[in-house]
Amino acid sequence: MRKVFLQTLNLLLILAAIGLGLWLVNQNFPAANQLAVAATLGEDTPMLSSLGPPLRTALDYPHQLILDTPVYFDLRSLPWFTRARVELRYREEGRTLVGLAGKVGEPWQYAPVMPLLVTTDEDGWQRAIFDVDLTNLMRPKNVRRFLIETVGPAGRALRLKSLDVTLER
């Protein structure tokens, strides 16, 4: 009886480990070839970091204020995702959005990306969509760094509502 119990437990644990591996493969190779990642503003998440450096940003919950230029964020994505669609929803409060830039070299080389589309929604929030080619960017340990560039007088803010990244294979 004891032996049967231990063997069953062993089998269940091995099946759980195999299931964990299959779940990970399924998560990393999505069937739709797309993976949507949403940033939690002000918090580091496993795939998307919070905006930095801290002095240039402020958290006005649930929004994030960008007070100076440039600010950065990091994206950890696996090498088979070659394109990313970055979508920013924001409101300009004296500071205007210029664009996004991806890091291509040390120490301070960035390739600028202009927005594909900037629209204003009915509720007054603006939406900028960027299409980024991830293959050119530096990726130490699969982490790519992006800058958000804005222009405006010091002390004026760009109010960020959401930052969404859709990775594509």
Binding site: L9, A17, L20, P46, M47, K141
Partner: protein, 67 residues
């Protein structure tokens, strides 16, 4: 309370299953950490593989307990 299932054996409820849990979780954690080393983010984008290592450490210590 009587447990007829285990009555005739000196079954240590924590110690003997802990040995099985240790065996599986230590192998799983090494595999997960190896995958994470080769492809950073494959595992850690979804959960922290150190939790499995912690489970292995906990059950490994428990499996060494004797009365």
């Amino acid at each position: 309370m009587n447990f007829p299932f285990f009555k005739h054996h000196r079954f240590h409820f924590l110690v003997e299953p802990a040995r099985v849990v240790f065996r599986v979780s230590i192998v799983t954690s090494f595999l997960l950490l190896a995958v994470e080393y080769l492809l950073p983010g494959f595992v850690a984008n979804w959960f922290n593989p150190l939790w499995v290592l912690l489970l292995a450490a906990g059950s490994g210590i428990l499996s060494q307990v004797s009365e």
